[in-house]
């Protein structure tokens, strides 16, 4: 019988949660016994070709590419887990939600104190994902089945959650593993 598959992605995040996944240390050998990694930055598989049991989502939704990635995860994964503060509430990237998008871009590309941009252009190449008006938590875009808070969630949090989910047990985090920082 083939092993269940895990997919992971980092959207509007810093890859810190992926670092935390790797931070499970030698338990990653146990993890490999339990699952195969499918689409993930860990193995650089770009497209879904198989159904996945679990999708781990790092980062919030800040541009149109994030929306498409998140929707493809929802279509191809049985269970989606929002990993880390950004996926749950936008966290650091969502600080821009206090400022209108136009003002953010003006500050970054036109009026910031260290900006040198004589043409006065704001990047708008079609290849660049289009920014959304604000950063959205994942569960405002697709249904999310479970949340692992933390910035990042500790390796123990991720490990506890994965073991529970892969064994079909309820995901209940003990007190010391629920942290928002």
């Amino acid at each position: 019988m083939s092993k269940p598959k895990i997919a992971t992605t980092s959207m509007c995040g810093c890859f810190g949660c992926h670092m935390s996944i790797l931070d499970i240390d030698e338990r990653i050998l146990d993890l490999i016994e339990l699952v195969d990694f499918h689409k993930s930055p860990v193995d650089d598989i770009k497209e879904f070709t198989d159904r996945c049991a679990v999708g781990l989502i790092e980062g919030g939704v800040s541009n149109d590419e994030n929306v498409h990635v998140l929707q493809s995860f929802r279509e191809n994964c049985d269970m989606l887990i929002a990993v880390g503060g950004c996926a749950i509430n936008g966290d650091i990237p969502s600080m821009r939600n206090k400022v209108p998008l136009r003002e953010c871009l003006d500050e970054a590309y036109l009026h910031g104190p260290t900006v040198h941009n004589p043409d006065g252009l704001i990047p708008n190449d079609p290849e660049i994902p289009l920014l959304l008006d604000r950063v959205y938590p994942c569960n405002e875009v697709v249904k999310i089945d479970a949340f692992l808070p933390g910035c990042p969630p500790s390796a123990d949090t991720i490990w506890t959650a994965l073991v529970a989910v892969l064994n079909g047990e309820p995901l209940e985090l003990p007190y010391e593993l629920i942290k928002y920082d």
């Binding site: 650091i92 949340f147 629920i178 928002y180």
Partner: protein
């Protein structure tokens, strides 16, 4: 002491004296009733509703409801836990609570209640209010209104303990916010870094400058034990 009487909290008999609130009497007996706007030593306000208990079947705020002989108080019921969770959830989505860079994280009572209730993510959509202005004018103190939950502890502490009345609320409804007793800036008030008002802020809204992150992760107040466990330990020691 001859006036001492008893009532029950979740079926446990609790002794109280006239004038005590339900929250005080329960706390003396080692029973923790969650609270946010209330703090020992301050006049109870009954503002946040987190301490709501059922008194003979009716919801009342334990922080300012007087204990009386023979009443039946329910504290840890599923219904009340859900209500308290929802209040904490709503406080989180109503403001901008970016815990990951907050100096108060680990010592924050709002965060600690969320931890105690096992909240992995709030169940309501985030509001991301854009109108919360910080006040960095004072050399030793700052106000971050993103984090303010309008509990009014600083208002009461400044008025009753410091005798200064530096803070009060202005406006109503969603526009309600904490304001200072000056034309505009905190530095123009007589607020001082030694004021009790700073000590009582449950969140990171009223902060001392230059002291952030001085306690490492793992040694902060709520890193290992839930808020309220210091009260519950009194019960087990007896």
């Amino acid at each position: 002491m001859s006036d001492t009487f008893t009532f029950t909290v979740d079926g446990v008999e609790v002794a109280a004296e006239p004038g005590q609130t339900i929250l005080e009497a329960a706390q003396n007996a080692g029973i923790y009733i969650p609270r946010l706007c209330h703090r020992d030593g301050l006049e109870p306000a009954g503002a946040c509703r987190v301490c709501t208990v059922m008194v003979d079947g009716r919801p009342q705020t334990a922080c300012n409801f007087p204990a009386s002989e023979g009443v039946v108080v329910d504290n840890e019921t599923d219904q009340l836990l859900e209500l308290r969770r929802d209040i904490i959830d709503m406080l989180f989505v109503e403001g901008n609570h970016w815990c990951m860079f907050c100096e108060k994280s680990g010592d924050c009572e709002l965060q600690a209640l969320a931890y105690r209730f096992g909240i992995a993510a709030p169940s309501f959509p985030f509001q991301f209010p854009a109108d919360r202005q910080a006040d960095l004018s004072h050399p030793d103190i700052w106000i971050d209104r993103d984090r303010c939950i309008l509990c009014g502890r600083c208002v009461r502490a400044s008025r009753d303990l410091d005798g200064k009345h530096v803070f009060d609320f202005v406006d109503r409804g969603p526009a309600k916010r904490i304001a200072v007793n000056a034309e505009a800036r905190l530095r123009d008030t007589d607020a001082d870094v030694t004021d009790e008002a700073l000590e009582v802020c449950p969140v990171g809204a009223l902060m001392k400058k230059g002291t952030g992150f001085d306690v490492p992760v793992g040694r902060r107040t709520y890193d290992w034990e839930p808020i309220g466990s210091e009260i519950e330990k009194r019960q087990t020691q007896e």
